[in-house]
């Protein structure tokens, strides 16, 4: 069920909340749990959700639990604030995708854990609709 885990990750998964360093302005995502002394130097920071494609693939042999989504596009997205993340692309087909293409975050269903489990929501990315 992993209820606590999905709850714990909600800020990052739902609104792309990471950390920004109070003095250097470095942004990190996802944020790792840090000792309190270090945590004082980082503040919660919601990323803009825009980025570009570093690379992508089309998953045709999915892991268990993702069968109904296959084939799906998996990408490495370089976010505007610097960090790179792994995410599915949606609202597009493989021929539409290219390295360096602008994309934006959208909240979608990641997984359905069945009748006794959660429906896990989180970020996916789609071709950017409006120029940032």
């Amino acid at each position: 069920m992993d209820l606590a885990k999905h709850w714990r990750l909600r800020a990052a998964r739902y609104r792309l909340e990471g950390h920004r360093h109070r003095t250097t302005s470095e942004v990190r995502f996802p944020c790792e749990p840090t000792p309190s002394t270090v945590a004082e130097e980082w503040e919660p920071y919601t990323l803009s959700g825009v980025g570009t494609i570093y690379s992508f693939s089309v998953v045709r042999q999915p892991p268990a639990g993702y069968e109904e989504q296959a084939p799906y596009i998996l990408a490495l997205v370089r976010l505007a604030e610097g960090p790179m993340i792994t995410a599915q692309l949606t609202d597009c087909d493989p021929p539409d995708v290219a390295i360096d293409m602008p994309v934006e975050m959208i909240t979608r269903r990641l997984r359905d854990l069945g009748p006794d489990g959660l429906i896990v929501y989180g970020y996916k990315f789609r071709p950017r609709l409006v120029d940032a």
């Binding site: 570093y54 690379s55 892991p63 960090p83 792994t86």
Partner: protein
């Protein structure tokens, strides 16, 4: 520190062993490796296994294998580091002998993957990636290598078919290895025509997971002298790690852990990449071998595919790779790969490589990757007369 020698090897064929358990495969490989050496003489047993907890849903494989191999009571445990499990276990065994804690130890790598359907196997292999930030998005290791391949093609202006020499070479060599899963050659055209798996990777760019076990017996110098030669010395041994998530690295095309462990192992052996006569890598896909060759110092960045195209991977080339078929043709035994690699290299150093023999091979390099280079173990082997 005392010198450490490989004094025995054994393996099962890599295959779909429907009728066998992981424990029985491991015990068979160990019996061959030990030969006339009594199991009671073994000081410790290191069992390399990546997927047993996920696929067999059984922990404590170490004691289970020890009991089945006739060494009940011995110090034994499982070592898990994804696809690097074999190399990491070998490193632990090497340290035990080098440090003088044991004079004779056994390392066995074993994997049993064919009991489950593909979806569950893919999910289990993906445990080597970051479960919260990669796998939750549907990432697989294959898709991650595919993304690196596409970026490499973009950055270095090559084509997907430029990676074909890797499976072509692996299959040409594997055809001569009786223990290999696939014993037939493939052509560049056949690679080109195979079905997509994770674009731009096609079927013949991808290794097939299969069952198998391989074992080595290590001994200290004094004991090794009593045994008949030629002797294979572990001249360098190193493990390095990188971030669990591929996206956390400053340059995803640079396998930093491969670079670190290769440099440390070669330094310990007093060798440079150019001194290595024959090598084994995690050549799950051409891109995997490409990035490992470049990080380990066998090729400049962006040039490994060119070396492959020029035939340098063949037994007659300057970087002979996968002489037993590699992960592609020998078969991907995941946690056991690192030990199968060593067996293929020991055959080379003993001049028993058959059609894939590298003439006069005296030094060998074995490197295995866990995940997308998250854990990397590298060993340098040298043939010696004692």
């Amino acid at each position: 520190m005392q010198q450490v020698y490989i004094v025995g090897t054994g393996q099962t064929p890599v295959a779909e062993h429907w009728e066998r358990t992981a424990v029985s495969l491991a015990a068979e490989a160990m019996a061959v490796a030990l030969g006339p050496v009594a199991p009671e003489r073994v000081g410790a047993l290191y069992v390399a296994n990546a997927l047993g907890s996920a696929l067999q849903v059984q922990a404590q494989l170490g004691p289970a294998v020890a009991a089945a191999a006739g060494m009940r009571g011995v110090e034994a445990y499982t070592i898990e580091a994804g696809g690097a499990s074999g190399g990491v276990a070998l490193r632990q065994a090497y340290l035990a002998v080098a440090g003088g804690a044991c004079d004779l130890v056994v390392v066995v790598g074993v994997e049993k993957v064919t009991d489950v359907l593909d979806g569950r196997l893919e999910a289990s292999l993906a445990l080597a990636a970051d479960v919260d930030w990669e796998v939750a998005q549907g990432a697989t290791l294959t898709a991650q290598w595919a993304m690196l391949m596409r970026r490499y093609i973009h950055d270095y202006s090559c084509e997907a078919i430029d990676f074909a020499p890797f499976p072509v070479n692996a299959h040409a060599n594997g055809a001569a290895n009786p223990a290999a899963l696939y014993r037939f050659p493939v052509s560049v055209d056949k690679v080109r025509a195979s079905a997509p798996i994770a674009d731009p990777l096609v079927m013949l760019d991808c290794a097939t997971a299969a069952d198998g076990a391989a074992a080595v017996v290590l001994a200290g110098e004094r004991l090794a002298r009593e045994l008949p030669g030629p002797h294979i010395r572990i001249a360098g041994s190193a493990v390095a790690t990188d971030t669990l998530a591929l996206h956390s690295r400053p340059d995803p095309l640079w396998l930093e852990a491969a670079a670190r462990s290769a440099a440390a192992a070669l330094r310990a052996a007093g060798l440079a990449p150019a001194d290595v006569d024959v090598l084994e890598l995690t050549d799950m896909h051409g891109i995997t071998a490409t990035l490992a060759l470049e990080a380990s110092g066998f090729a400049e960045r962006g040039t490994a595919v060119q070396l492959a195209r020029e035939g340098e991977l063949r037994p007659s080339g300057s970087i002979p790779l996968a002489t037993g078929g590699g992960c592609k043709a020998r078969g991907d035994t995941v946690g056991a790969n690192g030990i199968y690699q060593v067996l293929d290299l020991v055959r080379q150093l003993r001049g028993e490589g058959g059609k894939a023999q590298v003439p006069g091979a005296r030094t060998a390099f074995a490197q295995c990757l866990g995940g997308v280079g998250t854990t990397v173990a590298t060993h340098v082997l040298v043939a010696e007369q004692l």
